[in-house]
Point group: C2
Chain length 373, copies 2
């Protein structure tokens, strides 16, 4: 399959699991090996928020990681705490709720706090984690508004701790190959990118459908992947954006957030992109049309396996566990006391959040928004 089918994408992905995937040596997008950490030492990660992504992706991935392990949990639900302690052999001392969370400062088992809460809560828990003296990984979107991102960056800087965003695809081999093909102009300069991500959402009661918690609809949730895709294949920052809302075909279900959204970026080189995100329609593809050929990932943004091809033939790359690669990659750098690469940090998270807000502004005003300022 090359497009995620409709029904519930999350249901589908939940079934994929993280079992038995190999972890190749870590390399950057251009195939250079990343430095290796001292063997044996694993950073302790505490997951904040035990929703489906923690349960079905991160916890299983942490059973495969070399540089980190699942050391603690933060949850408001005692029954979940019991279940996770048993399943993952987590000592009671490493289990927190949202009131006791700040005591994590005294816990030597926890090196990294991974914030997996609804978007509107990212700022608060990233700031509190930094103040507790922990490195932080924050799920995407980093926050709802750019100002929140700035506060998060500042808090980590002040605490002398590093802040990563959950950009797992930067560690995914098909994605790395797409970055290389685009940024190194293997098929000549990119002229046009079609980058879209949408799925048919299930439970209308979930937090993703509430603007106060999610900050928006599919754009905040999966549209951000389409934004990232256009940016990382071109290696450029957009200079303008236009955008259009689709109709609300289920007004009651979508009373709070958009159902479908289209946007178009222009890049400094003259490359353009056209994107769609939706909670009503399944679509998942990253296509780059270059002067002398093309390349495509489809699926491009889900938890895998991804699939890719070019005008010269299929892209052959190992199938990996995205979340394990990402957390191992981040923790490898932390273990070496080196600085995280810019493209997975809060600075990158903030770039995306600014673009998400510019897309909404363009759609709401019907005007082309200048992004050069």
């Amino acid at each position: 399959m090359t497009q995620l089918s409709t029904f519930s994408r999350r249901q589908f992905l939940a079934g994929v699991g993280a079992s038995a995937l190999t972890l190749p040596s870590l390399t950057d997008a251009f195939g250079n090996p990343l430095p290796t950490a001292q063997p044996g030492r694993k950073l302790g990660i505490a997951l904040v928020g035990l929703g489906s992504y923690s349960k079905n992706q991160l916890a299983p991935a942490l059973q495969q990681t070399k540089n980190c392990r699942l050391a603690g949990i933060v949850t408001g639900t005692p029954a979940k705490a019991e279940e996770w302690m048993k399943k993952y052999d987590i000592p009671k001392a490493n289990v927190y709720d949202y009131k006791t969370f700040d005591r994590i400062a005294d816990n030597k088992d926890i090196d990294v706090v991974y914030v997996v809460l609804p978007n509107s809560m990212h700022r608060e828990y990233v700031v509190r984690a930094a103040q507790a003296g922990k490195h932080v990984i924050c799920e995407k979107p980093m926050a709802i508004m750019p100002q929140e991102c700035q506060e998060m960056i500042d808090a980590c800087k002040k605490a002398n701790k590093q802040l990563a965003v959950g950009y797992r695809l930067h560690y995914e081999p098909f994605t790395q190959e797409a970055m290389r093909l685009g940024q190194q102009k293997v098929f000549g300069p990119i002229k046009f990118v079609e980058s879209s991500d949408g799925f048919r959402i299930g439970d209308p009661g979930q937090w993703r459908m509430k603007k106060a918690l999610a900050g928006g609809g599919p754009l905040m949730d999966v549209g951000i992947y389409a934004v990232q895709g256009a940016r990382y294949v071109t290696g450029e920052e957009p200079i303008s954006v236009t955008a259009q809302f689709g109709p609300k075909t289920e007004p009651q279900k979508f009373k709070d957030v958009e159902e479908t959204l289209f946007w178009q970026f222009q890049f400094p080189s003259g490359a353009v992109s056209n994107s769609t995100t939706s909670y009503t329609a399944g679509v998942e593809r990253l296509y780059a049309s270059c002067q002398d050929g093309w390349f495509e990932l489809s699926p491009a943004f889900g938890y895998g396996p991804l699939k890719g091809r070019t005008s010269k033939g299929p892209i052959e790359k190992p199938i990996v566990n995205h979340q394990a690669m990402h957390m191992d990659g981040v923790c490898e750098v932390l273990l070496q006391n080196k600085t995280l690469p810019d493209h997975i940090t809060g600075a990158e998270g903030m770039r995306d959040v600014k673009l998400l807000q510019a897309i909404y502004q363009a759609a709401e005003t019907g005007r082309k928004i200048d992004l050069k300022a």
Copy 2:
């Protein structure tokens, strides 16, 4: 290959030719057999304009047709006349130039005039062909402005002759299957269509780059296929459109026509579409996301072979010569003195021309254009 590569699409297509393709029995989009004409009688077709489409597609296709044959030519270039007479054994009496064209009225060998001229000349030659008492096939786009289309329709009606537009894909099996999958809701109602067609144009001196002759850029030439695609998979007429011009990255080359154009349709059912056309970037795909699955043609609009797949697996259909199927299909109906199906007539051509002009209006004004009026 599933996307037309860059360089020149026309160069590529010129090499494909029309040789040795089988012609299956004619059926409509829903697989019903079309009535069979009396054996032996072939309508005589005269091609008006001997450019690359006549030379590389239509004339070779007419060597394979059952219901029609290449009987005459109309050209302003004596050397071309000589070459074609020799190559296709055309008697001198069936060769016209643009001054002598109207004398075709007296030529019993010619039943159908196929207008393959630049877009701005379609109106005049369709009207003159009708006045000469011939049935007419007109290449797409039918004309530049809707008013021209109306004059063409009226002229044919007055002459009691039929008018078809060169919508070859309505006779192409992969396209017919996509129509069936969408219109019969085989995967449930369509939610979203991505329908795009663009290529990297070669010779900047050709008529397609001149607004006075072409009426516009890639939208008039290949974007019309993307418009058709969204319409024939949904089986609906759009109720509104937004559109955006891409930048002119080669201002001298594109001083007269647009380089890239995006547009979004909304349909009465709530389905939406997002489209791109370009003379700078290669892209060719028709993707429909439905409630319970998806289907895709890619390539979707070129001269073939097309390729298709669905959420349940590949689409398997015979590879045919589009032009031969189209001309045979039109001539079969004419031989039976029946009425051409609406979706290949001037009425359909005029619907597309209205939409092309609405797309330009939306892009020029930056406003959503209401199409319900």
